[in-house]
């Protein structure tokens, strides 16, 4: 019986990290194993679609990938065996007890940590995570990021070489800095989510595939580390943000601000799940950045109307976030919350103060949003001329076509 294409795709993408983990754990050579798994997934997607899914799909994939791996290793060893020698400066003594415990771990976590290795650039971490853990093809990743397939192939190949050269181990040493490495993984997942949610350039405002993939990997991370509240916070944040996706744009492709979105069309199943996650995570330990952001998103999501939003609570949560993770974007978000909670005048004086201290209106990463926010504040205070200048400045600074149209329209009407 022919499997449904989406069911087949889901099965293959779920198996991908398990198969890769099994090979790398036994044979090492992440770089070659990763290539072999992609080949096996491709072979499976063709053969299983015609012949049906075998009884033990994972064994099938492992067997086929193993053979591809042998072919690749033999070819490599035949050409430059001697050059491939590498020195173990400090051979590791493996504690049998730790090793036994580790064997029960899902290898997906090891893979996530490896793909987000500190030796790699942020762009490489993203590409490698999507391929090795997400099971996406190079072409799919290239398409999602709007770059040529060849460019993405080079990026992935270099990333794997860097991992090899760094001597990174598949399993984190017992004294390895797990919290910092998990933070790196969360950052990568959130970057993927944001790339999907707000395309940094181009016409389409959302790229559903990347958003869905980030949430899928977020679920995986939360399942792997159920006792760590921060991955739960990240998953909650992504769900609560994504619940508003279908109301973010008009049919003609214009941006709809939060206050004007049709709340009845928000995804209430996602809101329930996200709210429940953040509620459970909140009580656990020291609150960190993703939990705070999820809590903010939950306050928004659970307000029946824009007017009923508890902006005072949101302003307080942003102040907390600013302390945990100081940054221009957080400061600007607090300005917006203060505007809603306490009025435009108080918000604008906070913005001017933060600008004096941190240069928000000049910094390349914040100036666009800082101008857009000040434009809205001035508009509400009734200063049309100054507002117009700020709307124009913000419009000229954005690369997003949809947002640019919105801001130019505001400049015309202000």
């Amino acid at each position: 019986m022919r499997p449904r294409p989406d069911a087949l795709e889901h099965l293959l993408r779920t198996e991908a990290p398990q198969v890769l983990g099994a090979l790398v754990r036994r044979f090492g050579r992440f770089d070659i194993a990763e290539e072999a798994v992609q080949d096996a997934l491709l072979a499976a997607s063709r053969q299983w679609y015609d012949d049906g899914i075998p009884d033990q799909p994972r064994s099938w994939l492992i067997r086929v990938a193993y053979r591809r791996m042998i072919d690749a290793l033999r070819a490599e060893q035949a050409t430059h065996r001697r050059e491939e020698a590498y020195v173990a400066s400090r051979p590791q003594i493996i504690d049998p007890d730790t090793d036994a415990v580790d064997a029960d771990h899902d290898d997906s976590l090891n893979l996530l940590l490896l793909c987000c290795h500190p030796a790699l650039s942020s762009a490489s971490r993203i590409a490698l995570t999507l391929r090795a853990v997400g099971g996406l093809t190079t072409s799919e990743i290239a398409h999602a990021y709007g770059v040529a397939e060849q460019t993405m192939a080079v990026r992935i190949s270099r990333a794997k070489q860097q991992i090899r050269r760094s001597g990174a181990r598949f399993r984190l040493a017992p004294d390895g800095d797990l919290p910092a490495r998990v933070s790196a993984v969360m950052r990568v997942l959130y970057l993927i989510f944001n790339e999907g949610y707000t395309a940094s350039s181009g016409e389409r405002l959302t790229r559903t595939d990347l958003t869905a993939e980030a949430i899928r990997l977020g679920r995986l991370l939360h399942r792997l580390l159920p006792d760590d509240p921060e991955p739960a916070g990240l998953l909650a944040l992504m769900l609560l943000t994504d619940s508003r996706r279908s109301t973010r744009m008009t049919e003609t492709g214009d941006l709809v601000p939060l206050a004007e979105q049709d709340r009845t069309r928000w995804d209430h199943a996602m809101i329930r799940e996200g709210s429940e996650l953040i509620r459970a995570a909140w009580s656990k330990r020291a609150v960190r950045a993703y939990q705070l952001q999820a809590a903010i998103a939950a306050v928004h999501a659970n307000a029946a109307s824009a007017d009923e939003t508890d902006w005072e609570q949101i302003a307080a949560l942003y102040l907390g976030l600013e302390q945990v993770e100081p940054g221009g974007h957080v400061m600007l978000a607090r300005v917006v919350a203060v505007a809603h909670a306490y009025g435009a005048a108080r918000a604008r004086s906070l913005l001017e103060q933060l600008d004096r201290e941190h240069g928000l209106l000049q910094h390349p990463l914040t100036r666009q949003r800082a101008h857009a926010i000040r434009a809205h504040l001035l508009e509400r205070e009734g200063d049309a001329a100054l507002a117009r200048a700020d709307f124009l400045a913000a419009a000229e600074l954005t690369e997003n076509a949809v947002e640019m149209r919105y801001l130019f329209r505001k400049a015309g009407h202000a």
Partner: protein
């Protein structure tokens, strides 16, 4: 006394040996071997047996002046390579030869009987 049985296969033939769809003949041979192994378990002569990964996935470790060196690949490139091993615990070499003769007859590939040096040789 214990003997290590080493089973060799031509490197060139390895891929066919691990192919997805083994021939009827190969399946029958393997089934016959498994029946024989069960017999040896019953007599208490069978200790253990395992199949090995392809030599390409082995790692060779040597000491050098710069430290311990890992090399991807087998210790020596050979035309015939170790594919599996078994350990048997039998009365002596004659019995080991009888057993391995039956294994070779069934499986077809050459095997080597290597005495495991016990306490009497320590």
């Amino acid at each position: 006394m214990k003997f290590l049985i080493l089973s060799y296969t031509p490197t060139a033939g390895w891929d066919e040996a691990t192919a997805d769809s083994p021939s009827e003949e190969a399946l029958a041979a393997f089934a016959a071997y498994q029946r024989f192994e069960a017999e040896l378990r019953a007599t208490g002569e069978f200790v253990t047996s395992e199949g090995l990964g392809h030599p390409a996935v082995s790692t060779t470790v040597r000491r050098s002046e710069g430290g311990v060196i890992f090399t991807d690949g087998p210790f020596a490139e050979l035309k015939e390579v170790l594919a599996s091993f078994a350990v048997i615990d039998v009365s002596g070499l004659d019995r080991a030869k009888d057993i391995v003769a039956r294994m070779v007859e069934v499986l077809g590939e050459p095997m080597e009987i290597r005495p495991i040096m016990g306490d009497d040789f320590a």
